[in-house]
Symmetry: C2
Subunit: 381 residues, 2 copies
Amino acid sequence: MDHGKNKEAASVLLIACSETDSNIYYASGFLAPDPYVYLSANGQSYLLMSDLEVDRARAQSKVNHVLSYSEYEERARKKGTASPGLAEVVHTLMQELDVKEWTVPADFPLEYGDAFRALGCRLAIKKAPFFEARAVKTPEEISAIQETQAAVEAALDGVIALLRRAEIKAGFIYAEGVQLTSEAVRQQLHLSLMGRGCIGQHTIVSCGIDGCDPHNEGAGPLRANESIIMDIFPRSVGSRYFADMTRTVVKGRPSDDLKKMYDTVLEGQLLGIERVKDGASGREIHEKITDLFEKKGYHTGKVDGRMQGFFHGTGHGLGLDIHEPPRISRSEWVLKEGEVVTVEPGLYFPEIGAVRIEDMVLVQKEGCRNLTTYPKFLEIK
Amino acid sequence: MDHGKNKEAASVLLIACSETDSNIYYASGFLAPDPYVYLSANGQSYLLMSDLEVDRARAQSKVNHVLSYSEYEERARKKGTASPGLAEVVHTLMQELDVKEWTVPADFPLEYGDAFRALGCRLAIKKAPFFEARAVKTPEEISAIQETQAAVEAALDGVIALLRRAEIKAGFIYAEGVQLTSEAVRQQLHLSLMGRGCIGQHTIVSCGIDGCDPHNEGAGPLRANESIIMDIFPRSVGSRYFADMTRTVVKGRPSDDLKKMYDTVLEGQLLGIERVKDGASGREIHEKITDLFEKKGYHTGKVDGRMQGFFHGTGHGLGLDIHEPPRISRSEWVLKEGEVVTVEPGLYFPEIGAVRIEDMVLVQKEGCRNLTTYPKFLEIK
């Protein structure tokens, strides 16, 4: 995917593994299992690749020049370094490019930072977001996110259908005679996602009190008449773009308290979505929701050493990473047209249950477009 | 999994995301989607966790103390820093621990490296392997690797059965009337792996000339009578340990040249496995194999600007990472009892095809134990 906007004026130096570092993948478009070197200077971009990867990088990357690491190793040797390390080899190329200062990300490896400075290079650390352009999505990126989202909705739909068919016996849930567990439902979601080329990891299927810890993945039998949070956020293997959606359901009959809490979270979520638009303050949106929850009597704070109420952010950007700028939270952040953010308030009270509802929306000039089409309902009879 | 050997004398400071950084996961046993802080000093280990994660970290991590980030933020404020950043907050804890020098990994974030140094901390960068203990596997780790390997072998077995049932028409391969492609076979492998709780990514199913680029994942219809390399290296979701195996097969009739090349690679691989033992030199093993290939007439080098022959390492350690120390390659590395390494020579000649055969072995006092049980054969009639 060519972003056509990745023009950073600064000269950039990245050394990272594109499998785990989205900045170098975004800049180079090249996926490899081991760290490699990316540079951009004077409007041109470069990769220094090992012999093993150089042909593939030439075919698959989107940089202007794929250079051979061993060739630059040889040049460094000729300049007098007997056994040049990576820093010396890269430095040979840096000198050829004749750049005064290199911009590196905050998580640039300290070892190489020290080495380049010792070689006389000036490094300017740029905090996240390293590539501002990553937050604002192109039409291709939005399509990629929507494609992943389609897999999310299909996977959830399979589970909802399963829960509809399921029976309740002695407070537990059975489908085709088998007791449903968090693990089994998660596995069904993961197989469905994989069937559509997406990898789900840490998918949350948490029942009742388990859900009150928002990052608890859930384990054991699912119980009827209790909240079941399903938070699904896979990555597409092909595009590498994530999607993210949460629904909370009850198989059977929710308590009145749980119903009221669900309605409150939904009201807060819709209020949040309504306020997302170009120029809106993430902090203000978050505060509107926390105010609503307080007003409705859901107080956030520690009880018996454990947080309850609404104690996470309202939303986060996503794309090549599952969590990336911007944020809708206590921190100040002004939303911009083209950003894709989640809106996912939740309420967590061990005595009632846990509710979180999450959609993914595209920030627009006036308002936003909801990229999530899955319906919202609490009860499954 | 408690390693029971993770006693590093130095005081360690790690700031990383355990989802992508195996050192912090190894040290803490705690998986979280965002970066967090790990310290060890005076035989005690610490996590500084956000309110959102602190309860889960207390339940799931294996450190001695899970501390609240916001509490240390408050302490930093009391000491006079108006809005303390992460470095100031961590520094408050560092001062309490009264340590002269902190050991950090080579890929420690430069931004924090600069910040801690500015606060007067001495940082000692330790090159990989950061935790030597990670290379030498405990019995639990070996079991975890074997469990992942069982999923690999089951997945491959499904594909081999499919290829046996398949028919050849006009040079292509059809199973149940459908033309087999790299993509379809990869998808079958991934679904089978997922069925056993493992995530396969970048699994290679590459036919003929595609296989001559060892990292080419393969695409398009599989052809009869040509080499098909299948390199399968998933991670277990539960244990997070990888396994790695490669087999090369031909559906139909391989050429005599391809058969000879297969036999040569197998001879080299067996010769390599035979030499793996505690104290053996990885470089010498690699050289034995390269010598054999040269002697048999398979010369390694560039032809028409493209590498052919045997131009990658013979093997690599694996565990929580797919590539970790030790190496069996041109670099010097002495193998140690308890390490798990691959032995995976290959030969790549565009005019003949590509062959790689890979097993995973456990280094022992005398020799090694092969953790791979899948048979080796070239032809599938």
